[in-house]
């Protein structure tokens, strides 16, 4: 990036018009456009005529990035009367305490498969009634096609987040985040999560509900691999998430024609990443709501949902997160343990784009259980318990102002 370009990008980022991370080295706007086409593209099953497009599956959750992140936005979680989930937009992550996946099902419960192969199961949820009467959502998959899950396997139902502006999360210097953590009062202090990369080195986790991926590239690569069954340079196995126990799946046709090839070449991956990085931060709706913003800060929400984070290029990421893990208590905990992360720990969810989620009724929180801002706050326990109590103690006018403010983001 030339100095002038960098300055321009930063200026626009400051104005909130465009993500500063949009200019990926060596790629131009047409590449970004190609990235968009690849993001929207429904991949097909091998062997198809379109060699570069095939290799989907054998097991998969969706054919396109866009099916879970519709219009780059958040996926909806719709629960039908019988408890099964309709549509795409959520995944069921599986894992054991040592970090491995289920011995048979792997790290995802894939709900779709190429013709001739049976999908792993159907996503469904049950309600767990808490002592105080609130109903927590619990993943309860049905029609498990390859036998029972391992007793040690934990489950985590996760919504596909809004991607707009999220490229900026990569641009926030680690030191700035550490400073924010240090400045947080003891009772709400979050922590940075460091994840181990395939090469053994450590990096700051920034993406996903539990900050388990360090970069857009790693996150996208995992999505191609786990959710669509397409191999990438970071995940070269062509069979995606089929385990050794799933023989027919491993033996199914795939899109690799020569040793060392992957289904999604680096040249494609970088363009998809450049596209995601180019998505501008969603702009708050309506006119500025100073009162709501003030109440938001006074209630302690802004401690975690930081309205703006600094970026390395001198801009700001107005996403309403601190990128830190916070323990929100047992009400939000699920049964999946990732090494080094407690079941109740979550990355502060960025609130930018929430107006769109509310409009489309996607559901809020990691598993889509809350239907409104107030309901989402109601689930804030643990380190956010103080903020929740402050919220619930607000007079009607202040509370309305706060809800209107958050709902406009």
């Amino acid at each position: 990036m030339s100095g002038a370009r960098a300055a321009l990008g930063a200026g626009l980022a400051a104005a909130g018009l465009i993500a500063a991370g949009s200019a990926v080295a060596g790629l131009d706007a047409l590449d970004v456009q190609i990235g968009k086409a690849l993001f929207d593209r429904a991949w097909v099953v091998a062997p198809a005529s379109t060699k570069a497009d095939d290799g989907l599956g054998p097991l998969f959750d969706a054919r396109a990035c866009a099916s879970c992140h519709p219009r780059d936005g958040r996926g909806s979680i719709h629960v039908e009367a019988d408890g099964t989930l309709e549509g795409r937009g959520a995944v069921l992550a599986l894992g054991r305490p040592d970090g491995s996946g289920d011995p048979v099902y792997g790290r995802r419960l894939q709900i779709d498969a190429v013709q001739g192969l049976t999908p792993e199961g159907v996503l469904a949820v049950e309600e767990r009634v808490l002592p105080d009467g609130r109903k927590a959502r619990v993943a309860a998959p049905r029609h498990l096609a390859y036998g029972p899950l391992d007793p040690a396997t934990g489950l985590s139902l996760r919504a596909a987040p809004d991607l707009r502006g999220r490229g900026l999360l990569e641009e926030v210097p680690e030191a700035a985040l550490a400073a924010i953590a240090a400045a947080q009062p003891e009772a709400v202090r979050g922590r940075l999560r460091h994840v181990t990369l395939p090469d053994g080195t450590k990096a700051l986790g920034r993406y996903g509900w539990k900050a388990s991926q360090p970069s857009l590239e790693a996150q996208s690569s995992e999505a191609f691999f786990l959710d669509m069954g397409l191999s990438t340079p970071l995940h070269p196995e062509p069979w995606g998430d089929c385990t050794a126990a799933q023989e027919a799946c491993r033996a199914a046709p795939h899109g690799i024609e020569a040793e060392g090839q992957v289904e999604i070449a680096q040249s494609l991956l970088v363009r998809v990443v450049a596209y995601v990085a180019s998505l501008p931060v969603p702009q708050p709706e309506g006119s500025a709501n100073r009162k709501g913003a003030a109440v938001f800060a006074a209630a302690g929400c802004a401690q975690c949902h930081q309205p703006a984070l600094p970026t390395a290029s001198g801009g700001t990421a107005r996403l309403f997160t601190d990128l830190l893990l916070h323990d929100l208590g047992p009400g939000l905990a699920d049964t999946l343990s990732e090494p080094g992360v407690a079941a109740g720990e979550w990355r502060t969810a960025p609130l930018a784009g929430i107006s769109d989620a509310l409009k489309r009724k996607t559901g809020l929180l990691h598993d889509g259980r809350a239907q409104s801002v107030a309901e989402a706050v109601g689930w804030h326990g643990g380190q956010a318990d103080g903020a929740r109590r402050a919220f619930q103690a607000l007079n009607a006018a202040d509370r309305a102002a706060l809800v209107a403010y958050v709902s406009s983001l």
């Binding site: 706007a29 047409l30 593209r41 198809a48 005529s49 190429v114 013709q115 046709p253």
Partner: protein, 446 residues
């Protein structure tokens, strides 16, 4: 299938008072346009009314889709004749009819972006890439495929049911509803089962030649009920018939959508003048830039993938690209030639640009002429039999790669020129992909 343009289109505001425009003398005499654009050069510099331009655009859309529909009806007649009496000759005639009907469709593609009704409909008609394994057998000679492998046998033509996610779909009766359902059963989830490329695949079969010479070589006997090759000839024939009927009906629907009481026309005419003009530019700008230059041409070049070409079974891509460009210009200049040779023309956005800033109008004329010329090189090279589009894409084919790159560059330049046209009319548009994305000054500079 692609997400509707409006969703992910990147909004940017034009209306820049860049130096390029500031310098243009307001009173410059209208220069005659390049000879390739007789419609433009014939026009005086006085601007037509914006409303008249919009109305003419709607009329032209109706006429162009009607034209495409009529061409498809001729194809349908040929396909019905083939199915009634399969032979090498009737098969050949059906394939020729597909190619002939394809061009009149391609010239309508500039209507797609900007008009959400068209964009939503497009998935049933022209979606790409095609999951042809869902429709029919692929390649029985492919080494790792065995006839026992159930994954190769599971296709609509050979099966009674197909599973999509948790739903099992009954495909025992092939109907237009079924094909649409397969396309849209679960949004982007579904496979592409209908439209131009499904028919193309059913007529030609998979092109097994890679980047070598040759198109798909499906034998006509795949439709011979007496000595059937490939199995299930009756189902295949039924599929081809239904897919063809469905396409014809879909084209008729779009022609009607632009008719006097049509929803696409109504949606456009409801808009204020500037917003309606913006739709016109959005369509041609998006097709020129993100769609044709980006997804359809540069991506293929990047991958050197022989089948990263739209009309991959028939090796007709050179024509589909060329007629896309013809359509862009037809819409810009407000004129077009019907399959019966008659022409139509009327007030256009080109007239508005010329009246507002002749210099910018000249530039657009020049860039459009250059884009058409660059793609014509590709078309002529393919038509002459020297090399087809899939061969041009091949890694190491410097000459072919360069031809495609020249096409990409010319289309990008054309898109930038169109952006300047937008700017002189002080419109706000959403173009799919544009330098303005990460460098809003780009439109001013070039």
């Amino acid at each position: 299938m692609r997400a509707p343009f409006a969703a992910a289109a990147i909004a940017f505001a034009v209306g820049l008072s860049g130096p390029a425009f500031a310098q243009a003398p307001a009173s410059a005499p209208a220069k005659p346009a390049a000879s390739a654009q007789p419609a433009a050069s014939a026009k005086p510099a006085a601007a037509p009314k914006a409303r008249d331009v919009v109305l003419h655009y709607a009329n032209q859309a109706q006429a162009m889709y009607t034209n495409s529909y009529q061409a498809a009806v001729a194809m349908q007649t040929a396909i019905n004749a083939f199915l009634a009496a399969p032979s090498a000759e009737t098969h050949q005639a059906a394939k020729a009819a597909w190619k002939k009907a394809r061009d009149p469709y391609q010239i309508t593609e500039g209507f797609r972006f900007g008009n959400s009704i068209v964009d939503e409909w497009e998935g049933n008609v022209n979606a790409w890439p095609l999951d042809e394994g869902l429709i029919d057998y692929l390649d029985k000679s492919r080494p790792q495929s065995s006839d026992e492998n159930p994954l190769y046998a599971a296709n609509v033509i050979a099966s009674k049911t197909i599973r999509i996610g948790k739903k099992t779909v009954d495909v025992s009766k092939i109907t237009p509803q079924l094909l649409h359902q397969l396309n849209s059963a679960a949004g982007v989830e579904a496979n592409v089962a209908s439209g131009w490329h499904a028919i193309e695949f059913l007529l030609w079969g998979k092109d097994l030649h890679g980047t070598e010479r040759g198109a798909g070589e499906r034998p006509w006997t795949d439709y011979d009920l007496k000595a059937c090759t490939g199995g299930n000839c009756d189902r295949r024939a039924q599929y081809l018939k239904v897919a063809t009927d469905t396409l014809v009906a879909d084209l008729k629907e779009m022609a009607d959508d632009w008719g006097p009481k049509g929803s696409a026309r109504a949606a456009l005419l409801k808009k204020k003048d500037k917003a309606a003009l913006a739709v016109i530019f959005t369509g041609i700008g998006s097709l020129s830039y993100g769609e044709l230059a980006g997804e359809r041409m540069k991506l293929g070049l990047l991958l050197h993938d022989p089948e990263e070409e739209q009309d991959c079974f028939s090796d007709n891509t050179h024509n589909s690209h060329y007629y896309d460009e013809v359509g862009i210009q037809d819409i810009y200049y407000g004129r077009f030639t019907k399959i019966d040779g008659s022409t139509m023309s009327g007030p256009s956005v080109a007239d508005l640009v010329r009246a507002a800033d002749p210099k910018v109008a000249d530039e657009i004329d020049a860039k459009m002429a250059a884009a058409l010329a660059a793609i014509k090189v590709i078309k002529d090279t393919a038509d002459s039999g020297e090399m087809f589009y899939d061969m041009m894409l091949a890694e190491g084919n410097a000459k072919g790669n360069q031809m495609i790159q020249n096409g990409v560059d010319a289309l990008v330049a054309q898109a930038h020129a169109i952006e300047r046209g937008v700017a002189v009319l002080k419109l706000q548009i959403k173009v799919e992909g544009s330098d303005s994305l990460d460098n809003p000054d780009a439109a001013k500079k070039k």
